[in-house]
């Protein structure tokens, strides 16, 4: 009982803090950091539906992100389609592509799936890099429409509107993740993650639910892609389709706490500001120290807090060895490598 009060108070405090942030920190850099944080949080929440719930560790989320960014931008640049419609179109395209690639990969497990997702994302990147229709390596520049407006999804005077839109994206994806998590589908996802054989024996269609997870995740990632494109107003394969973006998404989700609803968002709230602030304060020396700190931080958290920050907050964190999901050493050592 006391616990739920505390949670309620915390939620209220966070809500007030998030709403007040643009008033307190009016400079563009803090807002920029927060916009990126919300964007990566959305990506991590989307990843979590695939990876955290359904156990498909994708290292190729940049492909969905990029497809979303490219679809809405291309529709806008070449055909003058409103970016909000483009956002929906990008989400649908990404979901279809996700299903198309997910179907043949649906019997891959563990590391095989992870490597397949890298391979898929790299193929997408190379293809966009050579695809003349979408500007190939030169990318797409979205023309500035002045004055900016919500309808055109562009703002030039202040970053606050981007801040609130990005926050809305995050809240929407959290709501979707929560709904999925509590629905029957969510239970099936976790059943599939725990034991493929058991799930099949219970009559859960393995392929169908895996595809559902991929498609939801792809749609949300693509929406974040449109947000990126409309915010930066320029995109090329090197900025939206690279492996490092995919990896960052996984790192955020894992460090925050994969499998929980809020974990990935908390991961973004820590990791994105850390990486931006260390770059801003130490990067100009050109010594690489900022990234050393970042790398060391990731290593330390995965060693000492392997269930992520969420595990800590929820009070069930602990040293490696204990924890739900991996009840016995035997379950850990049984290779998930599809043997």
């Amino acid at each position: 009982m006391a616990r739920s009060w505390r949670v309620g108070g915390l939620v209220a405090a966070v809500a007030v803090a998030l709403a007040a942030f643009p008033l307190v920190f009016s400079g563009p850099f803090p807002l920029h950091v927060m916009i990126l944080t919300f964007m990566f949080a959305t990506l991590a929440v989307a990843w979590n539906i695939m990876g955290g719930y359904a156990g498909m560790f994708s290292f190729g989320q940049a492909a969905f992100f990029g497809i979303g960014a490219y679809t809405s931008s291309w529709l806008l640049v070449a055909h003058g389609v409103n970016p909000w419609l483009g956002l929906l179109a990008g989400g649908v395209v990404a979901a279809i592509v996700g299903a198309a690639i997910g179907y043949p990969c649906s019997n891959l497990r563990g590391h095989y799936f992870a490597i397949a997702s890298i391979a898929f994302a790299e193929i997408v990147r190379v293809h966009f890099n050579n695809w003349k229709l979408v500007g190939a390596a030169e990318g797409l520049t979205i023309p500035m429409t002045r004055p900016g407006s919500l309808l055109h999804f562009q703002f030039h005077q202040s970053k606050a509107p981007y801040y609130f839109i990005a926050l809305a994206f995050l809240l929407a994806s959290l709501a979707i993740a929560r709904t999925v998590s509590r629905s029957r589908m969510g239970y099936y996802f976790r059943a599939i993650k725990e034991s493929h054989e058991l799930a099949t024996a219970l009559g859960i269609s393995f392929v169908r639910y895996r595809l559902a997870a991929i498609m939801i995740s792809a749609f949300l990632s693509a929406a974040a892609g449109t947000l990126y494109a409309q915010y930066i107003l320029y995109l090329d394969p090197e900025s939206v389709l690279v492996l490092s973006t995919s990896v960052q998404v996984v790192l955020i989700a894992m460090l925050g706490g994969a499998g929980s609803v809020l974990g990935p968002a908390i991961g973004a709230l820590i990791l994105v500001p850390v990486s931006e602030v260390t770059r801003a304060t130490l990067g100009h020396r050109g010594t690489g120290i900022d990234m050393m700190i970042y790398g060391a931080l990731i290593t330390l958290i995965s060693v000492y807090q392997p269930k992520g920050v969420w595990g800590l907050i929820a009070g069930r964190g602990g040293r490696p060895g204990g924890g739900a999901g991996h009840p016995s050493p035997a379950a850990v050592s049984a290779p998930e490598g599809g043997r």
């Binding site: 790299e122 996984v250 894992m254 690489g288 043997r339």
Partner: protein, 286 residues
């Protein structure tokens, strides 16, 4: 035309052998511990720097730095296993994936701090120059590296199959719990496998440093390709990784030559996807 075809096949084999050696170290670790070492490419980078500094400071030829590089990387592998990887072995699988990413970022940027982001190349090695076989040109350094890769692979297979320690590693790879029951100290086996896997990439790095440029981010693409190779060959399969490495070298070179160089790595990844679609466990996995 056909001369150029022979040349391309030769070059594909040469780069393929080096891919194989890099991938074998990765697959050993993967097979025994079920851990993906995403820092593998950075280990390769460190090995190349070892050869570079031994050459620059002491004048030791990269060919002779092979054993030193192997030894140093073996020790590095042991340390990283002891202080990071072993601690997540019983944790969630995701933590196991992520811990090596952290190490990767850390190592690459430590190299930037220590040695600046500059590009280096070792020149005038014992093995510089090319041999001409008719119209086909073969770089001596690449040829020796490839022969070296094959020899190291054979030696590893012999070690695993003929020695007591090797058999313990293989047993652990096949079934950890049975191995534990049979009295194998699996923690020691893990440490040893991680060390040997790192030593193998150390050898690959020393070979590669004879003809490839060296800088802190050099491990990136080699690392990514070696993941695809290991998965293509089947996780944990040494022979699989060897065959897949050569296959990838050939596909990349011939694909670039006949189709489009811009797509040559994409073709490699496509090959992987098609293979696992048909055989989810990889070419020689089980």
């Amino acid at each position: 035309m056909s001369e150029q075809l022979v040349q391309q096949i030769v070059n594909g084999l040469l780069i393929g052998c080096v891919y194989s050696l890099i991938a074998i170290g990765l697959t050993l670790i993967w097979g025994v511990m079920n851990i993906v070492n995403f820092a593998h490419g950075d280990f390769l980078m460190l090995a190349m720097f070892v050869s570079f500094w031994l050459f620059t400071l002491v004048g030791l030829d990269p060919l002779l730095s092979v054993p030193i590089s192997a030894l140093l990387l073996f020790v590095l592998g042991l340390l990283i296993y002891r202080f990071a990887v072993s601690k997540v072995m019983r944790g969630p699988m995701l933590a196991q994936l992520v811990v090596t990413f952290g190490i990767s970022i850390f190592l690459a940027n430590t190299a930037v701090l220590l040695w600046t982001p500059d590009y280096r190349l070792i020149d005038r090695t014992l093995l510089s120059g090319t041999w001409s076989f008719g119209t086909v040109q073969v770089s001596i350094a690449k040829l020796v590296s490839s022969v070296g890769s094959v020899l190291v692979t054979v030696a590893l297979l012999l070690f695993l199959r003929r020695t007591r320690t090797g058999k313990a590693i293989l047993a652990t790879e096949m079934n950890r719990d049975s191995a534990l029951l049979m009295g194998v100290n699996t923690d020691r086996v893990n440490a040893l496998s991680f060390g040997i896997g790192s030593a193998l990439v150390g050898i690959a790095g020393a070979f590669l440093s004879m003809y490839y440029y060296i800088y802190p981010q050099v491990g990136g693409l080699f690392g990514t390709i070696s993941f695809a190779i290991v998965a293509l060959g089947g996780f944990g399969s040494i022979t699989g990784a060897f065959v897949a490495g050569i296959l990838v070298g050939l596909v990349q070179t011939l694909g670039g030559y006949f189709f489009d160089p811009a797509y040559k790595y994409a073709i490699v990844f496509l090959l992987y996807l098609l293979t696992v679609w048909i055989r989810p466990q990889g070419l020689l996995g089980w």
